[in-house]
C-alpha cells in the first residue's frame, strides 16, 4: 500500500500540516485585530450570506427585523437608532421570503417584523439550501474562520475600508437616467400571468406571516408591519408597480394588517427605486417612529 508511507511523503505531510496550522493562527490573529472594524463584504452575494450568518448568531437580540429586497437592504443597521437593535435581513436580488425562511425555524423573540412589499419574488430555494449546507453555516459557530465575514480577502477589505473609508458616491444624472429608463421599460407592462403569479406569492407570504403570528400569540405578540418603500413617481406610477401595490393591498387589507405610512419627505433615489445613501439614512432614522 503506497499511502504516503515513505520518508519524503511524511516530510511533505508535515510541511502541508505546518503551513495549514500557521495560516489558521495568522487568520485568527487577523480576525482578533480587526474585530472592531465595521463588517464589510466583497460583493452582494457575500453580503447576503453574511446577513444570514450574522442573524443566526444574534437572532435573540433582534428587536426589529427588516425583510425585503435590495430596496430595504440599503437601510444599514447603523442608520437606525443605536438602542433599537435592528437586524436587517433584506437581501439584494431576493425578497422577504428568504428572510422568512430563516425565521421559521427561529425561537420566539420579542420582535417587530417589517416586511417590504415592493418586490416579492419566489423563494430562491437553491440559495437557502446552499447556505444551510455550507461549511460556514454548519461549522462557523465552532470555527469562526469559516464564516464569510472572516474570509481572508474580506478581512483585507475590512481593513482597507476601515482605514480609508470610501467617499460617498453621488450618482450622476447620466447614471440615474440609464437605470431609470431600464426600470421604466421593464415596469411598463404587467401580464395577467405575472399578476396571477404575484397573487399566489402574496398569499403564500400571508400564510407564513399568519402562521408565525399564531405561533407567538401564547408568549409574545409578534408585531408585523408592511412597508411600501418610496420610489420615484415615474416608476411608482408605472403599470407594474401600480398593479403590485394594488395586489399587495388586496391580499393584505389595511383593516387587518399594519401598513406603515412612510415618513413624509422628498426621497432621492439612484435609479428611481433605490434610495441614495443620504436618503436611506434619513428614512431609516424615521421609519421606526412611523411604526410605533
Amino acid at each position: 500500500m503506497n499511502l504516503f508511507i515513505s520518508n519524503s511523503n511524511i516530510k511533505y505531510f508535515f510541511i502541508f500540516g505546518g503551513t495549514f496550522f500557521s495560516l489558521l493562527l495568522l487568520h485568527s490573529l487577523l480576525m482578533a485585530r480587526l474585530q472592531h472594524f465595521p463588517i464589510t463584504y466583497q460583493n452582494q452575494s457575500q453580503e447576503n450570506q453574511i446577513k444570514l450568518e450574522s442573524f443566526s448568531q444574534r437572532q435573540e437580540n433582534c428587536q426589529w427585523i427588516v425583510m425585503g429586497s435590495s430596496l430595504t437592504a440599503l437601510l444599514e443597521e447603523s442608520f437606525f437608532p443605536q438602542d433599537s437593535h435592528v437586524c436587517n435581513m433584506a437581501m439584494g436580488g431576493h425578497s422577504a421570503f428568504e428572510g422568512l425562511s430563516m425565521l421559521n425555524g427561529a425561537s420566539v423573540f420579542k420582535s417587530h417584523l417589517i416586511v417590504e412589499m415592493n418586490v416579492v419574488k419566489d423563494l430562491d430555494q437553491q440559495f437557502v439550501h446552499d447556505f444551510k449546507n455550507s461549511l460556514a453555516y454548519k461549522a462557523g459557530a465552532t470555527l469562526p474562520q469559516l464564516l464569510n465575514q472572516n474570509q481572508p480577502i474580506t478581512l483585507l477589505m475590512k481593513y482597507l475600508r476601515g482605514k480609508y473609508p470610501p467617499a460617498e458616491k453621488n450618482v450622476t444624472p447620466e447614471q440615474f437616467q440609464t437605470f431609470f429608463q431600464v426600470h421604466q421599460t421593464e415596469s411598463s407592462s404587467f401580464s395577467s400571468a405575472e399578476e396571477d403569479h404575484l397573487r399566489e406569492l402574496l398569499k403564500k407570504m400571508r400564510e407564513q406571516l399568519q402562521s408565525m403570528q399564531k405561533q407567538h400569540t401564547d408568549s409574545q405578540d409578534l408585531q408585523i408591519y408592511l412597508l411600501w418603500m418610496p420610489m420615484h413617481p415615474g416608476l411608482e406610477n408605472t403599470v407594474a408597480f401600480q398593479k403590485r401595490k394594488q395586489l399587495a393591498q388586496e391580499v393584505f387589507p389595511e383593516q387587518e394588517w399594519n401598513w406603515l405610512q412612510f415618513p413624509e419627505g422628498s426621497w432621492e433615489t439612484t435609479d428611481g427605486m433605490h434610495l441614495t445613501p443620504q436618503s436611506a439614512k434619513v428614512f431609516a432614522s424615521q421609519l421606526l417612529k412611523a411604526a410605533l
Partner: protein, 485 residues
C-alpha cells in the same frame, strides 16, 4: 428546462452529494468483494451522477450508449462496405441528435416571429431544452465509432471487442464515466479503452490525485467563483455606468474566470478519475503564455482541439493540400468549434474570429519575424504573449455578452467612459483574484523557458495555502461555465 422539473440543481463537484457519491463509490470500488464489478460500480455511480437532477436525462444517455455500442460492434463484425455504412450511420446519427437538441432552437429562433410564437411546432422547436453534457458524450461516441472503423484495417488494435456484452459495459463506462461526463475532457476511445482493466487500491497515485484535486478546487471555488461576482457587472445594463478602467479590468477578470472555472473543473475531473485508476487527457496547459494563436489552441481545451484536429481537420486534408485549402480547413474547424460551444451566433463569430486570426498568423508571422528579427528574443516573446492574451481576452466578450449589440456597446463604453471615476474596490478585488492565475502562468513560463523549478517543499506549502483558501475563502457556489455547452 429539465432541471426545473424537480428544482434540484445538477450535482456540482463542490457539493456534499458529490463528495458522498465519490466516497461511497470509492469504497465499494476497491472492496475485494466487488472487484469483478468495478466497471459496473462506476457505471451505476455515473448514472446516479447524471440523473441526480432529472432522471429523464438518462434516457438520452442510454440511447447514446446503445447507439454507439451497436454501431461500433457491427463495424467490427461486418465486411468493408457494411462497416463503412455503420460508421457513417453512427457519425450521422450522433451529430443529428446533437444538432436536434443544440441547434434547433437557434435555427427556429432565426425564423419568422409569427412562426416562433404560434402554438404548435414553431413554439416547441424554440423551447427544446439542452441536455447537460450532450456535446461531450456525443463527441466521445463519434470518437469510438471512428476509432473502431480505423482499427479494422490499421495495425494498432487498442479497442478489442470480445463480445457484445463486454463491449456494452465498456462503452457505457467510456461514455458515462462521471468525472468527465458533463464537461469533459473529451476522451478518445483509443486512449481510454486500453486502460479498462481491474484496478487496485495499492496502485492509486495519491500524490498526483491530491495535487490535482486541491489545485482544481482552488481554481474553481476560490478564484472562479469569486471572480464571477466581480465580473457580474459586465452584464447589460450595469456596465453602462462604469469607468473604462473598470470595464477593461473586468474583461481581464472574465478571462481569468473562464480559465480558472474550466481548468479547475478539468483538474477535478482528472483528480477524481485518478482515484479510480484512470488517467484522463490533460485539458489545459497554461494557455495565456501562448506566443501564437496556433500555440493557444494546443494549450486551451486541448481535448476539444485535439478531437477537432484528428477527426475533422486532418480528414479535410489538414495542411497537406496547399495554403488556400489549409486556410479553408482552419476556418471550417474553428467555425464549427465555435458553434460547438453554444447555440448562439455569437459563439460562431467567436470561433470565426479565432479562425481568422489563425489564418492571418500563417500569412504574416514569417514576414513579421523577419522584420523584427533585430528585437531581442525575450522582448519579442513578451510582445507576442501580450498580443495573443489581449486578443483572446477581447474575444471572450462574446461569451459573456452573447447579444451583439450589448458586446458592441461594451466596446464603445471602454473608449468613452474615461471620465467616470474608477470603482477601486472592484478593481482591487479583480486584481487579487487574477493574480494567482497570472502568477501560475508566469511560473510555468519560467519553468519552460529557463528550467526554473519550485522545490517540492515549497509546492506542498502552496498546496496548504490553496487548501486553506478553499476552506475559508470560497465564492458563492455556481455551475461551471462549460455546463452550458
Amino acid at each position: 428546462m429539465f432541471n426545473l422539473i424537480l428544482n434540484i440543481p445538477f450535482m456540482l463537484f463542490n457539493s456534499w452529494p458529490y463528495f458522498f457519491l465519490l466516497l461511497s463509490t470509492f469504497f465499494i470500488y476497491y472492496a475485494s468483494a466487488f472487484r469483478s464489478l468495478q466497471i459496473s460500480t462506476l457505471i451505476v455511480a455515473s448514472f446516479i451522477f447524471y440523473a441526480y437532477s432529472n432522471p429523464w436525462l438518462l434516457t438520452l444517455l442510454i440511447f447514446s450508449i446503445a447507439l454507439n455500442c451497436i454501431v461500433s460492434y457491427y463495424i467490427t463484425r461486418s465486411g468493408p462496405t457494411q462497416a463503412k455504412f455503420w460508421a457513417v450511420l453512427g457519425v450521422v446519427v450522433n451529430l443529428a441528435v446533437l444538432a436536434f437538441f443544440k441547434y434547433t432552437p437557434l435555427i427556429a429562433d432565426s425564423l419568422s416571429e409569427n412562426w416562433r410564437h404560434s402554438d404548435g411546432l414553431g413554439h416547441f422547436l424554440t423551447q427544446i431544452p439542452l441536455p447537460i453534457g450532450i456535446s461531450f458524450f456525443t463527441f466521445q461516441g463519434i470518437s469510438l465509432t471512428i476509432d473502431v472503423f480505423k482499427e479494422r484495417t490499421g495495425p494498432v488494435k487498442s479497442l478489442k471487442i470480445l463480445s457484445f456484452h463486454d463491449h456494452l459495459l465498456k462503452t457505457a463506462f467510456f461514455k458515462a464515466f462521471f468525472p468527465q461526463l458533463i464537461a469533459g475532457p473529451i476522451v478518445k476511445a483509443h486512449d481510454f479503452y486500453p486502460q479498462i482493466k481491474p484496478k487496485y487500491f495499492s496502485d492509486i497515485r495519491w500524490k498526483k490525485s491530491i495535487e490535482l484535486l486541491i489545485f482544481g478546487y482552488f481554481l474553481k471555488v476560490v478564484l472562479a467563483d469569486n471572480l464571477k461576482e466581480q465580473t457580474f457587472w459586465i452584464s447589460y445594463p450595469y456596465f453602462q455606468t462604469l469607468s473604462s478602467v473598470d470595464l477593461i479590468v473586468m474583461l481581464v477578470g472574465y478571462s481569468c474566470q473562464i480559465f480558472a472555472d474550466f481548468c479547475g473543473y478539468s483538474l477535478i475531473a482528472l483528480g477524481s478519475a485518478e482515484l479510480f485508476g484512470y488517467e484522463l487527457i490533460r485539458n489545459f496547459n497554461w494557455p495565456y503564455i501562448s506566443r501564437s494563436f496556433s500555440e493557444f489552441w494546443t494549450r486551451w481545451h486541448i481535448s476539444l482541439s485535439s478531437f477537432l484536429k484528428e477527426y475533422l481537420y486532418i480528414p479535410l486534408g489538414g495542411n497537406r493540400k496547399g495554403p488556400l485549402r489549409t486556410y479553408f480547413n482552419l476556418f471550417i474547424v474553428m467555425f464549427l468549434g465555435g458553434l460547438w460551444h453554444g447555440a448562439a451566433w455569437s459563439y460562431a463569430v467567436w470561433g470565426t474570429a479565432h479562425g481568422v486570426l489563425l489564418i492571418l498568423e500563417r500569412l504574416v508571422s514569417g514576414k513579421l519575424n523577419q522584420i523584427f528579427s533585430w528585437v531581442p528574443e525575450t522582448l519579442r516573446q513578451a510582445f507576442q504573449i501580450s498580443f495573443v492574451l489581449c486578443c483572446v481576452t477581447f474575444i471572450w466578450l462574446l461569451f459573456r455578452l452573447p447579444h451583439f449589440h450589448e458586446a458592441k456597446l461594451y466596446v464603445l463604453s471602454i473608449f468613452s467612459h474615461w471620465h467616470i471615476p474608477m470603482g477601486k474596490s472592484r478593481i482591487l478585488l479583480n486584481a487579487i483574484y487574477c493574480t494567482p492565475v497570472f502568477a501560475m502562468h508566469a511560473y510555468v513560463l519560467m519553468k519552460e523557458r529557463w528550467g526554473f523549478q519550485l522545490a517540492d517543499k515549497w509546492k506542498w506549502s502552496l498546496y496548504a495555502v490553496m487548501f486553506y483558501c478553499i476552506l475559508t475563502n470560497s465564492g458563492n457556489s455556481s455551475e461551471f461555465i462549460y455546463f452550458q455547452f
